[in-house]
């Protein structure tokens, strides 16, 4: 008994010919094949190299300026990188970025999940498709257009709401309003919430659509109302999908530049109140300080960009890890 009868696909003859045949089995002997494999593998490796290069270059430029920084990079409430010696820190930016994005996510997720449920479970069948299509199109509206709309349409409309929040909730301190133009972190959050709504809706919708029909029908057959069906079978099934969708939305909001840059009137201080103009975000600060920056100033902006890069990397990585753990779910077209 030799190997051929046991396993007809294995190379029957050992020796110099065996290696040759092994390669033939992989289909990579012909020059065309080798070139093509090389090209496509090379592209994949190039993508990895780009990611590595992004991290490396940003770190390199950031390191140059951080050694000169006279303030504490994480706690200084100042941004004067062009001074000699430079003094700058990201405390205000980190605060503004995290607060505005988290509020945006908190505002957007319930609405987005409701719309996803609306499309999959509530809307008349004829309406569901077109609505989903419109939401898809809205995801394509460029962020600068949201920014222009936010600055010229949304901001004037926030006056009444801010006055209202101030008079009823002003005592909390968070919603206190001195009466300045409503170009504050809260306005930025509202705009960000509107912008990340489509992506959260789309991903949640894909998950809700994959809920096993049997489970829903079983619940209905037991006499459950539509809400009970959703609470007992749809939401538990879709929970991890919704979480990762929210984190993808959070990632978007963290890195959003132009919409925040047009809406916010930035200052380098942290207010307890969300309604008073002031604060800033990483991306907004880069866009608005770039014009007046010299080489050292740009390096400082790159250093803040590196922090933003790491934060979004963490958030997106976590979101993807949650999606990847759910093997049955494959609709992550973010």
């Amino acid at each position: 008994m030799d190997t051929t009868t046991k396993n007809p696909t294995a190379p029957p003859v050992p020796g110099p010919l065996g290696a040759e045949q092994k390669r033939a089995a992989r289909g990579a002997t012909r020059p065309g094949d080798r070139i093509f494999l090389g090209l496509s593998r090379g592209s994949g490796i190039l993508l990895l190299l780009i990611m590595a290069a992004i991290a490396a270059f940003l770190t390199y430029r950031a390191a140059i300026v951080l050694t000169k920084d006279q303030g504490n990079f994480f706690t200084t409430f100042e941004w004067n990188p062009t001074m000699d010696p430079p003094v700058f820190g990201i405390a205000v930016l980190a605060f503004g970025t995290v607060v505005s994005s988290v509020i945006a996510m908190a505002l957007a997720v319930p609405v987005a999940v409701s719309i996803a449920l609306f499309i999959t479970h509530y809307a008349p069948r004829k309406l569901g498709g077109p609505i989903a299509y419109v939401i898809d199109l809205l995801a394509a509206v460029p962020s600068i257009v949201y920014g222009l709309w936010g600055a010229l349409v949304l901001v004037p409309h926030m006056n009444g709401l801010f006055g209202w929040l101030d008079s009823y909730l002003g005592w909390t301190g968070i919603f206190e309003w001195q009466g300045g133009a409503p170009r504050s972190l809260l306005t930025a959050s509202v705009l960000l919430a509107i912008m990340i709504l489509p992506i959260i809706t789309n991903v949640s919708r894909e998950v809700f659509r994959q809920v096993p029909k049997m489970q829903e029908e079983a619940a209905l057959a037991l006499g459950a109302t539509r809400w009970e069906v959703i609470r007992m079978s749809v939401l538990p099934f879709g929970r991890s999908g919704v979480i990762s969708a929210s984190m993808l939305g959070l990632g978007r909001a963290l890195g959003e530049t132009m919409a925040v840059a047009t809406v916010l009137s930035p200052t380098f201080e942290i207010h307890a109140s969300l309604l008073d103009p002031g604060g800033g975000t990483f991306a907004q600060n880069i866009a608005s300080k770039f014009g007046e920056a010299n080489e050292q100033g740009r390096d400082a902006l790159i250093a803040s960009g590196l922090v933003l890069f790491l934060i979004t990397l963490l958030v997106n990585g976590a979101a993807r890890a949650i999606i990847a753990r759910r093997k049955e779910y494959s609709g992550a077209s973010a």
Binding site: G44, V111, L138, L148, M158, M258, A261
Partner: protein, 354 residues
């Protein structure tokens, strides 16, 4: 006797089918709460329509619960509240989006005409009326075109590697980092190119530098969509071709790619639509100018999204500049929407039929 029978009949009916609100009741409650909200708003002198809307939404949800709880019982009431909350959420989401499109179209058409499309801002100060977006259209087309030329081959080849060859650790790493790459903020991509283009190579701003940053944003999108499309190609086609002795690379080029070309085109067009609206990297690397610059490899160039931002930010509240910003926004939205619609049309037209 008859009284008891009637009560018994009623009880029996209610176990099978409880009292139901008429079908028109949600509409009636909605109408009633809108009227009440307007009354409260006018009465209390609230000047913001947002407040009116919030009051109406609140009244609608609470009213639905109160009315349904009295006639239908608590379970049904909860169901109705959930339904009304979902509807309210939908309306809440639609309002800003509708307002955005309405404002862009209404304010954009003011100066949107042939002159606007065919003239630059060369001799027009930002606060004066006149001028147009010709230079910005040139810039956007060139930058996006170059970015597409760079990222489509790399992205498509990567997708081919992942689907046709990819096994093991390298493929897993590429898949993961492509996912991560989709989440890179556009401004970080801009900073990356900035850090080596302007700070290390010491070259000035140019459209090409912007294209490099845009291609970083475009590549992962192309990889993702191409990958999805290649996975849809039935394995029988590959096997049939390989069984005829066709080399694998020719199988991919002549069988797999032509089968999925419709979907790949759709994905590429959607990716183009996405990067066309990117402002931040262009701001850092291309800088923008009022003059026509046809050469993407040298000197500052304009671009449509950047034009919108600069008209808004540099004009000190001039209405002429705002009008131009809206008109440019209209042009940009129209371009992106048309790309989207055409892409989806191709997807539907070329969709694999089984």
């Amino acid at each position: 006797m008859t009284h008891a029978a009637a009560r018994a009949a009623q009880a029996r009916r209610s176990t099978l089918q409880g009292a139901r609100l008429p079908r028109w009741s949600p509409w009636a409650i909605a109408g009633g709460s809108v009227v009440a909200a307007v009354a409260v708003g006018l009465g209390a002198g609230l000047d913001s329509r947002i407040q009116w809307g919030l009051i109406a939404a609140l009244l609608f949800v609470l009213g639905t619960y109160a009315i349904a709880a009295r006639t239908e019982g608590r379970r049904q009431a909860r169901d109705r509240v959930a339904t009304s909350v979902v509807w309210v959420a939908f309306v809440v989401a639609v309002i800003p989006l509708a307002s955005l499109l309405y404002a862009t179209v209404k304010r954009g058409v003011k100066v949107f005409n042939g002159y606007f499309l065919s003239h630059s801002m060369g001799v027009v100060a930002d606060t004066e009326p006149g001028g147009g977006i010709y230079h910005a259209i040139i810039g956007t087309l060139e930058q996006v075109g170059i970015a597409t030329l760079i990222s489509v081959p790399i992205g498509a080849l990567t997708a081919i590697y992942l689907v046709e060859y990819g096994r093991g650790k390298l493929a897993a790493a590429v898949t993961f980092f492509v996912d991560v790459m989709t989440g890179i903020p556009s401004i970080v991509a801009g900073l990356f190119i900035l850090s080596f283009w302007i700070l290390i190579l010491d070259l000035g701003p140019s459209g090409f530098a912007g294209s490099l940053a845009l291609s970083i944003l475009m590549m992962p999108v192309v990889v993702r969509s191409t990958e999805e499309m290649l996975k849809l190609v039935p394995n029988e086609l590959r096997e049939a071709s390989l069984a005829l002795g066709v080399p694998k690379w020719r199988t991919i080029l002549k069988v797999v790619l032509p089968t999925s070309v419709g979907g790949i085109t759709t994905g590429v067009m959607l990716a183009i639509a996405r990067i066309t609206g990117e402002t931040a990297p262009v701001l850092l690397l291309v800088w923008g100018t009022g003059f026509i610059n046809n050469n993407p490899f040298e000197g500052a160039q304009a671009s449509l999204p950047l034009y919108i931002y600069q008209q808004y930010a540099n004009s000190a509240g001039s209405n002429a500049a705002y009008d131009r910003a809206w008109a440019a926004a209209l042009a940009l939205i129209a371009f992106v929407m048309i790309l989207n619609l055409v892409a989806r049309g191709i997807a539907r037209w070329k969709a694999p039929r089984h």
